[in-house]
């Protein structure tokens, strides 16, 4: 302290020491303030009713439409039920990361979360989402009709025989085509290829479109999901008995060769390996292609005069083409995935949360969601609801293709990793770095090693 006083006596030293101290105080105070603010629990006004918080993806239509449904519930039922539903939108990009970190942190800050069915296995195995069977069988809690659900959707929420989620929307893909140009949509992949050639200007200079069709070949969520439809329709299955992978079966190789063959033949845009949902949307909207294999959610935008002024009244939908079998029948396959509500295993309001998810996925809740622009809750009563017939004219076909041809991924904990392996090797095949056979051989080998490491083969 003596020495410090000596230093402080000189003018220059006073300035230096003071500057250092002030700087440190300011920095520490600022950072301490930030840390304190961040560590505060979410500031919510003290509710008069219990609040059930639902983390929901903030992309149209999910959070907007669920918010409208929740508002209806809060107005009509919240007093009797003793709780209200609060939809908390989470940004679309980064939703998965949020889901992982929030669930693994065992945070009680939310009660329900929107989750894609392919992740149910791993979060169920982690013990962070609640199995629902004992809630469903307790009729005093909320009488709930599971029989109204499409079977494919219920299978997608089971893990080791237990139900871990309630399906809240179901998605599949259609063949969208220009009905003013194509009088009869193709039934088989061979017909699909011929129609595509007819509407590609390099084959047919009189074609009104530049390319016949398009596909989602960009590395990402949708590349594998679109390919599965070719894969299954050609006769492929993910696994043989005892979990032996069979992605590289002859059916698998043929399906990938066919899909990549569309690119080699030039009937799809040249940069199709950079095409995902938005680019496929633009290709048909901009009259660049005459057909597109695209998600059901695009129907609203394709048939809207505001969003698709060039083609809104010229688009129709059909089941995806399939593979003609020797007996003449056509084997089709439609990929189906289900968005679901899961119940946080660390929620402090589990019974109320179950009632909330039960209402949201009930026929009444589903109709309110759909009327606000939402995609279908996979209930027969929703698909056939007369009040939604005009709002969603595509739903009868959607229900039909899901029932007849719907197939889904396998809800094992390793599926997210397997999905990424499929992504990587399909992308390498699309880039020409590997032949379809080599790519699927490598994929098969990777999946086998993964499952072996996880103890699937004893």
């Amino acid at each position: 302290m003596k020495n410090l006083y000596g230093i402080l006596r000189t003018e220059k030293a006073i300035t230096k020491v003071q500057a250092v101290i002030i700087a440190i105080i300011i920095v520490v105070a600022a950072i301490a303030g930030v840390i304190y603010y961040v560590s505060l629990p979410p500031s919510r006004p003290t509710p008069t009713l219990k609040e059930i918080h639902v983390y929901c993806r903030a992309s149209p239509p999910e959070s907007d439409a669920w918010t409208k449904a929740a508002e209806y519930f809060n107005e009509k039922y919240s007093k009797d039920m003793g709780f209200k539903i609060v939809i908390d939108p989470v940004p679309h990009h980064g939703y998965l990361e949020m889901a992982i970190s929030t669930l693994l942190s065992k945070s009680p800050s939310f009660d329900l979360m929107l989750m894609l069915n392919m992740y149910i296995g791993e979060f169920a195995e982690a013990g962070v989402i609640e199995p629902l069977d004992h809630y469903l069988t307790n009729s005093t809690l909320y009488p709930y009709d599971l029989n109204d659900f499409l079977p494919a959707s219920l299978e997608s929420v089971r893990y080791k025989g237990k139900i871990y989620a309630l399906p809240c929307t179901i998605s599949t893909m259609f063949l969208y085509y220009r009905k003013d140009l194509i009088s009869k949509p193709p039934d088989t992949w061979d017909e699909y290829f011929e129609v595509a050639k007819n509407f590609t200007s390099s084959y047919n200079p009189n074609s009104p479109t530049q390319y016949g069709t398009t596909t989602q070949a960009k590395r990402g969520e949708c590349l594998p999901k679109e390919w599965y439809q070719y894969f299954w329709s050609f006769g492929g299955e993910f696994f043989e008995n005892d979990w032996i992978p069979s992605f590289n079966s002859s059916a698998g190789v043929k399906s990938l060769e066919f899909q990549i063959g569309l690119f080699k033949a030039g009937v799809v845009p040249p940069d199709v390996n950079m095409y995902a949902y938005s680019e496929v949307m633009t290709a048909l909207q901009g009259e660049i292609t005459a057909m597109a294999i695209q998600w059901d959610a695009a129907y609203y935008y394709y048939t809207s005069k505001e969003y698709s002024p060039k083609i809104w009244d010229k688009v129709a939908i059909a089941p995806l083409p399939g593979y003609r079998l020797p007996d003449g029948t056509i084997r089709r396959a439609h990929f189906v995935h289900t968005w679901t509500f899961v119940l946080n295993a660390y929620s402090q309001n589990k019974e109320e949360a179950f009632k909330a998810m039960a209402w949201l996925t009930s026929t009444e809740g589903a109709i309110k969601y759909a009327a606000a622009g939402g995609t279908p809750v996979p209930r027969v009563s929703v698909f056939t609801a007369p009040e939604l017939a005009d709002v969603h004219p595509e739903w009868p076909l959607m229900s039909e293709v899901i029932n007849k041809y719907g197939k889904s991924e396998i809800p094992i904990p390793e599926w997210a990793t397997i999905h990424e392996y499929v992504n990587i090797y399909l992308s390498l095949a699309w880039a020409g770095k590997l032949t379809p056979k080599d790519a699927l051989d490598a994929l098969n080998s990777s999946v086998y090693e993964l499952l072996k490491e996880r103890g699937y083969y004893g």
Binding site: N3, L4, V20, I21, I24, V27, V28, I31, I35, H93, L96, E97, I100, L104, G121, E122, F123, A124, E125, A126, G127, Q210, K218, R219, G220, P269, P270, D271, V272, N273, M274, E279, T282, A283, G286, I288, P413, A416, T417, H419, E420, I424, S427, L428, W430, A431, G432, K433
Partner: protein
């Protein structure tokens, strides 16, 4: 006096412990366990197995190669163009502040917005950039062509490098421009009196005096380039194939998509060691010049 020194630095050290040391220590801990999303509650100790898995994964080495190429081929043009613009603007003229504001605009756009914007601009069928390139005879495939060009694994990577140069050259310009403004005037006056040409002045006075500033710019940009994730993920997601899969994209996919937390933690430790070596080398040889 000694006690005062420790007392004054204690808050900062405590902060560093919380936001740097603890997360790193936790990452090292996770890297020693076979831990994924579904084994998070009951991980198994596996020693260095995750590190061996990373080092034996051919896609890891591919991502390291892609990252090195991305950094090298982006930093050199950014430095040269940034220096050129800084030299051009190292004088007073009317409208200089407006020109400077326009130059730094690419840098202030959010990377996610830039990525989305270039995804549309580079679309082969509807994009503006391929349209004009086709007019001058370019065949196309800015993002989709997986064929290598010289040392660059694919045209897509070259396009991403160009996007990064567009975005971050203004950052280099800002640093170098500030450096030029701070240079002493006396050596220049002496050189002019001695009859030195502009090239000689640039080569023998400006460049040596600017070396520490350029080193700082290089170090900062190199670190940021290694970390680049947003524009790559939005525009190509690491494709076509794995030709644009950098270390950051590779790490993200393993941690957050595949849920391989132990593998991802080992990857981050390896990347940290790699970046520490690179930074040490750059500081030693570029900044201190020895």
């Amino acid at each position: 006096m000694k006690k005062m020194k420790y007392l004054l630095t204690a808050p900062l050290i405590a902060l560093l412990m919380i936001i740097v040391i603890y997360p790193f220590a936790y990452a090292v801990y996770l890297s020693l366990y076979d831990i994924s999303i579904f084994t998070f509650a009951h991980p198994k100790f596996c020693g260095i197995k995750n590190y061996l898995n990373v080092l034996s994964d051919p896609l890891f080495w591919n991502s390291l190669k892609v990252t090195a190429i991305f950094v090298f081929f982006a930093i050199i043009p950014e430095l040269l163009i940034g220096l050129g613009i800084a030299l051009l603007l190292n004088r007073e003229f009317r409208g200089k502040t407006v020109v400077q504001a326009l130059i730094i605009m690419p840098m202030i756009i959010m990377p996610a917005v830039t990525g989305t914007m270039f995804s549309m601009l580079l679309n082969e069928v509807i994009g503006v950039i391929p349209y004009y390139l086709r007019l001058i005879g370019f065949s196309g495939g800015l993002l989709s062509n997986p064929q290598p060009i010289l040392f660059i694994p694919s045209q897509a990577l070259l396009t991403l490098i160009a996007v990064d140069i567009w975005m971050w050259t203004p950052f280099i310009f800002l640093i170098l421009h500030s450096g030029l403004q701070a240079l002493p005037k006396d050596p220049y006056e002496a050189a002019l009196i001695d009859g030195a040409s502009k090239l000689q002045i640039f080569r023998h006075i400006t460049l040596p005096l600017m070396k520490p500033v350029m080193a700082v710019a290089l170090i900062f940009r190199s670190i940021e380039l290694i970390k680049t994730f947003d524009i790559i993920y939005i525009i190509t997601m690491g494709g076509p194939g794995s030709t644009t899969e950098t270390l950051s994209v590779f790490t993200y996919l393993h941690c957050f998509v595949m849920g391989e937390i132990g593998f991802g933690a080992a990857l981050t430790v390896i990347i940290l060691i790699f970046m520490s070596v690179v930074c040490r080398f750059m500081v030693k040889y570029l900044y201190y010049g020895r």
